[in-house]
Symmetry: C2
DNA sequence: GTCTATAGCTGGATAGAC
DNA sequence: GTCTATCCAGCTATAGAC
């Protein structure tokens, strides 16, 4: 039942925006009345929280599914992970906004949910290290580039390929500046 | 009086978030009651709209104040404009969110206000062209990089220098990939 | 121009019957 | 577990007195 409620919440968020998720509307979407939702979640914030956690689990799973840098080489690994990330963001703008922008007034993820986000950041760090990117400045430049590609793709060409298809070129630009291959 | 109201609105937005700007609170901040605000603005959306327009005017002014690429060369021009932009974003996160993120549920800029944003984008295009960046792919990569730097700076180190100080290095990376100087 | 008063709505959450 | 009924708080906006 929690599953059904969360699915409905995602659907409303995708079609009407994150702020469109209200207790009455959400309950109606699963054939209930608002008060019944409190049997499954302590409140509305807990629903956003579960969504935030779920998004981070999905991102973690997508990242774990990538081949290791040792297998495919740093260049290919960076391309793969960037494509996976930008496509992940672009596949669901409501999820992107919930996870990476502060677009739900008055809501902040709980500590437990946020821990999943930190876990993903740590996984990324270790992935970058395996790609030979270990100094802090390079990591910061890298994260700026990747989040920039993702936000442009989501904001200006949702569901398209406009920035996704520039990823290889961008990775080569980044690697080229770190010394010739 | 419109000026005073807008100043108060910015102040509330900065301290409590954009959604903290309400008619009662805003009126109280200028020593009025809510209904009196309707003498100066037709409604709340018009206030967001005026703020959006004002932000874009400020950005335009900041950009116009930059030395021309012909004077300082492409590299310096790109560094200057990126620093100016990231600092502009980082100086006021409420303004950043209003202008570049969709963080006011239910509000969209009016056509007139949006025209100012388009004007700024066109100015940027012409600036980039003067820097020798004319193909669409390079422009897209460039905007991704710049917005990425800005969003990382605003989100993770507001008011600091963590990404601002990486701008020179990033511009060199970008230019390096376009053929040796 | 500014006010009081209030309409009219929407939202999350709770009490208590069944 | 689900419901009806309702509370309570918030909001924008308007009517009409002064």
């Amino acid at each position: 039942m929690r599953r059904q409620i969360l699915d409905a919440a995602w659907e409303i968020a995708r079609s009407e925006g994150l702020d469109g998720v209200g207790m009455r509307k959400l309950a109606a979407a699963v054939g209930m009345r608002a008060p019944s939702l409190y049997e499954y979640f302590p409140g509305k914030d807990a629903i956003y929280d579960a969504m935030f956690a779920e998004g981070n689990e999905q991102l973690g799973a997508a990242h774990r599914a990538l081949p290791a840098p040792a297998e495919v080489g740093a260049r290919r690994a960076l391309i793969n992970s960037t494509q996976a990330f930008v496509e992940f963001c672009s596949a669901d703008d409501a999820r992107f906004q919930l996870m990476f922008q502060r677009s739900v007034p008055g809501w902040r993820p709980s500590d437990e949910a946020y821990a999943l986000a930190v876990e993903n950041l740590e996984r990324l760090d270790s992935f970058l290290a395996q790609c030979g990117i270990e100094d802090a400045d390079s990591r910061d430049i890298w994260t700026a580039i990747v989040t920039g590609l993702a936000s442009q793709q989501v904001t200006n060409d949702l569901g398209g390929q406009r920035w996704i298809r520039l990823i290889e070129q961008t990775v080569d630009m980044f690697l080229g500046a770190r010394g010739p291959a």
